[in-house]
């Protein structure tokens, strides 16, 4: 799900870079309103886990693999703004140290995986949690479900960017969109399972630290179920 250089034109990539940087500034300001020292270790560990898990491509179809995005995972653990920052850190390190994800496409990748998957996926989680009984079990299930949906959502984000500013014009955009959504629905199943497993483990050991759980004892920028 990392866009390489060359898929999207330089102008649109640059605009996305500015947008992603603006998103970073907003996320920093938001995160400052609730982050306290006791959340710092979990946030740092979340960044490292997302990096490590993204190295592990799992088979999905013959000839196709997928890997965790980790956006909903990070956002449910430490909040959507810190989740966005975690995705930006991971994507920046991958592009600058490991040549994974284009340098010119870094802004696009941060928008898709930080903006759409982490922040968008978190809001989806919040909305769906309202329809549950908000027990720890529901937190685990709903975060897995939101994570699963966040994968085709992020892929659809790329499809829109490709339609607006893709460098290849000889392809069918509807065919690209549906192929992206179809494949990423399947990858999303893995995303949902991994997310639910990790959220379940953290909720069991430190329910007070999980931002998206009703058992969280810190501050939030918004009411969880309002």
């Amino acid at each position: 799900m990392h866009i390489p250089d060359g898929f999207i034109g330089p102008g649109a990539s640059a605009i996305a870079g500015v947008g992603a940087a603006g998103g970073f500034a907003v996320a920093v300001r938001q995160a400052k309103t609730y982050l306290t020292d006791r959340l710092v270790p979990l946030a740092a560990l979340s960044a490292a886990f997302v990096f490590a898990a993204q190295m592990v491509n799992f088979p999905v179809l013959p000839g196709m693999s997928g890997h965790l995005i980790g956006g909903v995972l990070a956002a449910v653990l430490v909040g959507p703004s810190a989740g966005y920052l975690i995705m930006a850190i991971v994507l920046g390190v991958q592009a600058l140290v490991f040549a994974d994800g284009g340098l010119s496409a870094l802004g696009l990748n941060i928008i898709n995986l930080g903006g759409i998957a982490a922040v968008g996926g978190y809001w989806l989680y919040r909305v769906m949690l309202r329809f549950s009984n908000r027990s720890p079990r529901s937190v685990v299930f709903v975060s897995g479900l939101a994570a699963a949906i966040s994968v085709p959502l992020a892929a659809a984000g790329f499809a829109v960017e490709f339609a607006l500013a893709g460098t290849t014009t000889s392809v069918s955009l509807t065919s690209v969109l549906w192929a992206l959504i179809g494949t990423h629905v399947l990858i999303g199943i893995g995303e949902g399972i991994i997310t639910a497993a990790v959220i379940g483990a953290v909720v069991r050991s430190r329910p007070d630290l999980v931002y998206g759980a009703p058992t969280y004892t810190g501050q939030r920028t918004e009411d969880l179920v309002a």
């Binding site: 400052k32 390190v93 893709g166 004892t217």
Partner: protein, 100 residues
């Protein structure tokens, strides 16, 4: 050693196992985006990464360099995450009593 320290160490061990050991078993098939790009005929638009020659580009090309790449990436993301969130986070004593 208190419980929080034990939990953090446990988490670091799990993360290291994922990034250093489990990453060795990763599928090398194209991911969803690469797969679709090939099927739909726009994979050729991708250009080489500007840092393709970097020592750990693409997480190395054998098991050992992949293990090193995993370890290095974990240390960097852990350090950057800790640094950034430490700067942004208030000290716990500055905030009113926790509550929702």
């Amino acid at each position: 050693m208190n419980r929080n320290t034990r939990l953090a160490i446990f988490a670091v061990v799990i993360i290291a196992v994922v990034g250093v050991v489990l990453s060795q078993l990763a599928s090398t098939e194209p991911d969803g985006l690469e797969f679709v790009a090939e099927q739909e005929g726009f994979a050729g638009a991708a250009t080489d990464h500007s840092l393709e020659g970097a020592p750990l580009a693409d997480y190395g090309d054998d098991g050992l360099s992949r293990a090193i790449a995993g370890g290095v990436g974990i240390v960097i993301t852990l350090a950057l995450g800790y640094g950034l969130f430490k700067i942004l986070g208030r000290s716990d004593s500055d905030q009113p009593a926790a509550g929702d």
